[in-house]
Symmetry: C2
Subunit: 391 residues, 2 copies
DNA sequence: GCGTTAACTCAACTTTCTTGAGTGTTCAAG
DNA sequence: CTTGAACACTCAAGAAAGTTGAGTTAACGC
């Protein structure tokens, strides 16, 4: 039973340099600003090698000098930082009714974000819309296309024909061909495709509460509920890109089995409130319901927290993450409320006395979470050494 | 919130060579025997580079020539294969009542296996026993110590003080200090520590039904139930090494929530049978009960299969593995029976028409599964390129 | 038979890293 | 105030690994 060997790249001078460059960028990004010697120690390279690489990066416009810092004895340190306009990333979130786009700079600051309603969810329409948005965004911001390092695309999973197909708010026509390749050809850019939860998780790791974390889980409240997993600094995609479909597992709430997604998701809260005659159209409606202490909403929140507690037990015991982050298209207030009410399972490997992070944290939320996450995929790539890259 | 940056190695000539060597070994191992040009294509190196590396590996005794193969036109291919006695790995499984050890060669063939009862489960006693077994094994097989590439150690988790502590058949005194370091110092060898499930999974990947798979899950029947996860060819350890503690999650059987481990584990079957007046002492007893079609055993098997079906739904939807493997200290017959009776969840990302592997497979079983898995950890290391190593 | 195909080797070249000596700045001890 | 240690960084030489392109050998097919 011989399967194809994943193309694991051998190292040659060119690839070594590229690898080390990214290592240096990564080290600088991690601490904000750094000097040559410091980077050398962190990377296991000689200071001379680091010096040469930094000189390269300065020429390429990826770094800026940040003045000197005299730290104790010795020659003061010439510091360097990532140059924000050294590169840009385009983030795209495709939903059945609209396409969201964002342009972010090298340090992750969004320059523009945009929502384009979709006339129809056909493949051609989507490609056309994304393409047009890219051009428009570049024109508006005067960012040259060659400064774009790539595009991240968030699409609703699952990918391919699976047992969950048909149950999702799906996009027709994407089950044939590799979406990444299709977009890459159309946009003429390196493209990275992920599901919303993984993208949001990577964004959190690049610029959110998960900065510096290498092992964590992210529960993403979207239409349904998704689980983003980061292991060893890499998003876990699974064999076919469908890892993290946590919404359809069965958990126990008040002794009764329920589908997780039916208890904790945007659809779930809408359905629950509709059952009590309350109509919510969007996230803002939820916020006002919450501030007016709507009884039905509070009932739902409590029940969601109970379901979440079961899910937490599974996530923690299966992944042993540093922390679990809650985020997505849900108002902060509600997330905070749920977090406060979620019982942290006693019988969990995460129930340890020497924790550095809370077991449950709130991440970035809001409508653009996944879109910015899409852009973060590109940034993540730019700061990840390439030799023997775990994809 | 700045955390310590994982020491990601920069590439220098020495590390590049080591990386490429392992890449070549890996490519050869993957296909059994291979020629230079073939390896060059697979690794992205030039044939000249591969030639030089192979010449090195021949000198080091890690490869043997395997004669020529004339494949179509052109000069016949000089083939190479891994030299079985090119290196050895020592595997250790520590249990509260005994220590199991095994010596395997570079291709994974076990030379000797041994069980040493433990007078007491104290740390010092264990270290002493392992050390003595290593010496004895080397003496018996006339393998020089410098041919040993390392030792793999399997210890019952969870590691550290967690919410599951105290519920396991535990070893006292290992919560302080890093077990890997302690063993490494004592044995004077590179040491890799894992839990039983992950080790068994790696063994399956090196020489079992998971050969060539990079993303799969392994359910290990031990005292309890453990989940080994392989993602992108690497074992998932979690932030604190405790990933895969699936035994304590709650699943639903016949509409009622139960702890998974209470339904599917060696302890569970023993308890169930004891409740009906049947005493089983070991794996052989189970085999004979099965061949005599014991009614109580069959009831347990059905119930275990139902619990497993719930677990499968969780594993598949969270990891999207290529397959899920069942193995461990359970007779083949019983595993096969359970697999046959386990309902494959419909609503799963793994329920896809284009599958190459069954959703549920039986892996290696038997008493030495984890011990050989421990040795496989060392082999895995030897065939894994080191630059930017994912640990 | 003879040209084509393909694997492999040899020798020259390139890239990148490391090493060790040297420069400049800061701090602290005498 | 002087002197020396500590530290960051640069320069130039050297080493290690990979690549390139020409040349050799062997099998196949027309």
């Amino acid at each position: 039973m011989v399967t194809s060997l994943k193309p694991q790249l051998g190292a040659n001078p060119e690839r070594v340099r590229s690898h080390n460059k990214q290592l240096v960028l990564r080290a600088i990004r991690h601490v904000g600003t750094a000097g040559r010697a410091e980077i050398a120690r962190a990377s296991g390279l000689s200071t001379q090698a680091v010096s040469n690489i930094i000189s390269d990066l300065l020429n390429e416009g990826l770094l800026v000098e940040q003045g000197v810092r005299s730290a104790g004895r010795g020659l003061p340190v010439q510091q360097y930082a990532i140059k924000p306009d050294g590169g840009y990333a385009f983030g795209v979130e495709v939903r059945p009714t609209a396409v969201f786009t964002a342009l972010v700079d090298l340090v992750g600051t969004p320059l523009v974000t945009h929502r384009t309603p979709l006339a129809d969810p056909q493949k051609a329409t989507i490609l056309e819309t994304v393409c047009a948005q890219l051009d428009e965004t570049l024109a508006k911001t005067h960012v040259p296309k060659n400064a774009l390092m790539g595009a991240g695309i968030v699409m609703p999973g699952p990918f391919g024909d699976t047992g969950l197909t048909g149950t999702e708010s799906e996009l027709p026509g994407w089950n044939t061909g590799d979406p990444a390749e299709i977009f890459a050809n159309r946009l003429d850019l390196p493209v990275f495709v992920e599901n919303d939860a993984n993208a949001a998780a990577m964004a959190e790791r690049m610029n959110g509460v998960a900065r510096g974390l290498d092992d964590f889980a992210y529960l993403y409240f979207g239409q349904g509920l998704g689980l983003g997993l980061v292991q060893n600094g890499q998003a876990v995609q699974g064999a076919f890109g469908n890892a993290g479909e946590i919404g359809h597992i069965t958990v126990v709430v008040q002794g009764r089995p329920v589908e997780l997604e039916s208890a904790t998701s945007r659809l779930s809260v809408q359905a629950h409130l509709a059952g009590h005659g309350v109509t919510v159209m969007n996230v803002d409606d939820l916020t006002s319901l919450y501030s007016s202490a709507n009884r039905h909403l509070f009932v739902w929140l409590d029940q969601a927290a109970q379901a979440l507690s079961s899910a937490l037990s599974i996530i923690e015991n299966l992944f042993d993450p540093q922390t679990v982050i809650l985020g997505g298209a849900m108002p902060d207030d509600l997330l905070d409320h749920i977090i406060a009410r979620t019982a942290l399972p006693e019988r969990s490997v995460s129930n340890r006395p020497d924790r550095k992070y809370p077991r449950l944290m709130r991440g970035t939320s809001g409508r653009m979470t996944a879109t910015l996450g899409a852009a973060a995929l590109v940034l993540h790539q730019a700061f990840t050494p390439t030799i023997a890259a775990a994809r």
